[in-house]
């Protein structure tokens, strides 16, 4: 006699997408897009093989790195300029960011001012520093001034956004209490807002300085001062061992900067 087996229940993992068909559709679209992108790259086995040979040649050219005195002078000159640029740009950028941040905080700024502030931040954050650098070079000429302008500009976008978020997160009670004593707008800011955000300002400044050091090493590629110009020159002149030296120096500076930055930020917490 045949025994009847009751229908077995099944289970399917629920999906974050609206339903399973949407999920598969999204996966297919993504895969197709990736394949299309890859096809556009025009990768071929021949290219990879050629590339391998070129890579070997490049490495042979770079190793060993060059340390002649003349080149070292060039190197140090460029690094110092980059460092100086990063210091000035950070200071200028942070100073400019503070008003922009106050303009961009929802809980403090009136609506039209808020939109202007956020607009400045968005425009600053949308463009890579090299774009700003290249335009600055055309405006004020080759050299560190263009670099400082470019880095300050990016600093404003970065700093003002984070500072504005910090201001929006503050305990409004402290602000209200200050206002209730009869303080004017500026005094309210000083006593009700600034103390709450000050620790963050210092930490963020150090953080941004670290980032600016990295960026200051490459804006020279478009003529905006610093070691970047030296770097590009050595590369274009096939002076690959000096190229490697500069890269190593940049890496060293970046790592030292990161160590110092982490240490200081750890101390102020």
């Amino acid at each position: 006699m045949a025994t009847e087996q009751p229908e077995q229940r099944t289970w399917r993992r629920p999906t974050a997408f609206y339903n399973h068909y949407v999920k598969w559709a999204v996966y297919v679209v993504i895969t197709v897009f990736l394949l299309w992108s890859a096809w556009n790259m025009r990768i071929s086995v021949a290219r990879v093989i050629e590339g391998w040979g070129a890579a070997i040649g490049l490495i042979q050219g770079m190793v060993p790195p060059e340390f002649t005195p003349f080149k070292m002078d060039l190197l140090i000159e460029g690094l110092i300029e980059s460092l100086a640029m990063s210091v000035i740009a950070t200071i200028v950028g942070v100073l400019l960011s503070i008003p922009v941040a106050f303009m961009s905080a929802e809980n403090i700024a009136p609506r039209p001012v808020y939109w202007v502030g956020r607009g400045i931040i968005t425009v600053s954050r949308s463009f890579h520093e090299l774009i700003i650098a290249i335009i600055a070079v055309k405006a004020v000429g080759i050299g560190a001034l263009a670099g400082v302008i470019a880095l300050s500009y990016k600093t404003v976008g970065f700093f003002a956004k984070l500072l504005a978020e910090e201001i929006e997160d503050i305990d409004s009670g402290q602000m209200e209490a200050t206002e209730a004593t009869g303080a004017n707008r500026v005094q309210t800011m000083l006593f009700g807002v600034v103390p709450q955000v000050m620790p963050r300002i210092i930490g963020l400044t150090i953080y941004r300085w670290d980032i600016n050091i990295r960026h200051s090493t490459i804006v020279g590629i478009v003529g905006a001062g610093g070691i970047g110009a030296t770097l590009l020159n050595s590369f274009d002149q096939y002076d690959y061992d000096f190229f490697l030296t500069i890269i190593i120096a940049i890496i060293a500076i970046v790592m030292v900067g990161e160590l110092i930055s982490t240490y200081i930020r750890g101390r102020i917490q």
Partner: protein, 276 residues
């Protein structure tokens, strides 16, 4: 079913967590292990399925020597040991069903595991087990949406789904309130009885141990200082387990000296072994 002989665990720091503990769990009994904090109860249970590696002694499950197994053999052996954890250890971001089904991971290929493809029988059984632990209808909830008591029940369901030969339970009620604790203990013992599975449970609430266990083992400082039924667990015994009171010369496993007419010699030996 489970036969642990002279289990030792010494950590690299020199800390001797287990100094040679032997224990047998047979049939479908429920054995509760009690003792003060740091006695080595958790270490003992974790050594059974080798989540913690013992440094000496042997563990045998159903005749199979666990302590010597490697890689795949150990994984296969672990399938037969269902473990329930103090902190539930559910995969918080996954659904209840996935958590329960993960009990069968030892039986599916890696690729099927990735695709969440389990045998139809297992899925059907998962539904049944969920209903049995009182969580029917919750299979698509995320584990972190459940209360503590509910999460522990999912943990029980996961262990049961393995069709284990023994349940290893590590302080299942420490993170629960008294009412949920009782509910979980009820459920645990009921299921174990229904499926005829022995249970080794590590617990520090002595009253729960007395109520639910058939046999109680007392651990102190890495050594077994008591073994007997709930009735044998009187004040003397508790003192020996929890306050380190002296175990008299010639005492048996329950910590008391044998009375006239009862086999004294073997008790004396045991006493010496335990104190030595």
């Amino acid at each position: 079913m489970l036969s642990v002989t002279d289990l030792q665990k010494t950590y690299p720091s020199g800390d001797e967590a287990l100094k040679g503990v032997s224990l047998d769990v047979t049939g479908s009994e429920t054995v509760a292990m009690i003792g003060p904090s740091g006695a080595g109860k958790s270490t003992f249970i974790r050594c059974v399925n080798r989540l913690t590696e013992p440094t000496g002694g042997s563990v045998e499950l159903d005749g199979l020597e666990i302590t010597g197994l490697s890689g795949k053999e150990l994984r296969n052996a672990r399938r037969d040991m269902g473990m329930i954890f103090q902190e539930y250890n559910l995969i918080e971001r996954l659904t209840v069903m996935e958590n329960v089904l993960s009990g069968r991971l030892g039986y599916v290929s890696t690729w099927d595991a990735f695709r969440r493809k389990f045998a139809g029988d297992d899925i059907e059984r998962a539904y049944e087990v969920l209903e049995r632990v009182g969580l029917g209808g919750h299979e698509n909830n995320r584990a972190d949406e459940l209360s503590g008591g509910q999460r522990q029940r999912v943990g029980i369901a996961r262990a049961i789904l393995q069709r284990p030969k023994i349940l290893l339970v590590d302080e299942p009620t420490s993170s629960l309130d008294p009412e949920s604790s009782r509910a979980v203990m009820d459920l645990l013992t009921e299921i174990a009885a229904e499926d005829d599975i022995p249970v080794l449970i590590n617990i520090h609430e002595v009253d729960l141990a007395e109520e639910y266990a058939g046999r109680i083992v007392g651990l102190r400082d890495g050594q077994k200082v008591f073994e007997g039924g709930p009735d044998d667990l009187d004040e003397t015994a508790r003192g020996q387990i929890y306050r380190g009171e002296e175990i008299p010369e010639g005492a048996g496993p329950t910590g008391k000296v044998a009375e006239a007419g009862t086999p004294g010699e073997s008790s004396q030996e045991e006493g010496q072994i335990r104190r030595g």
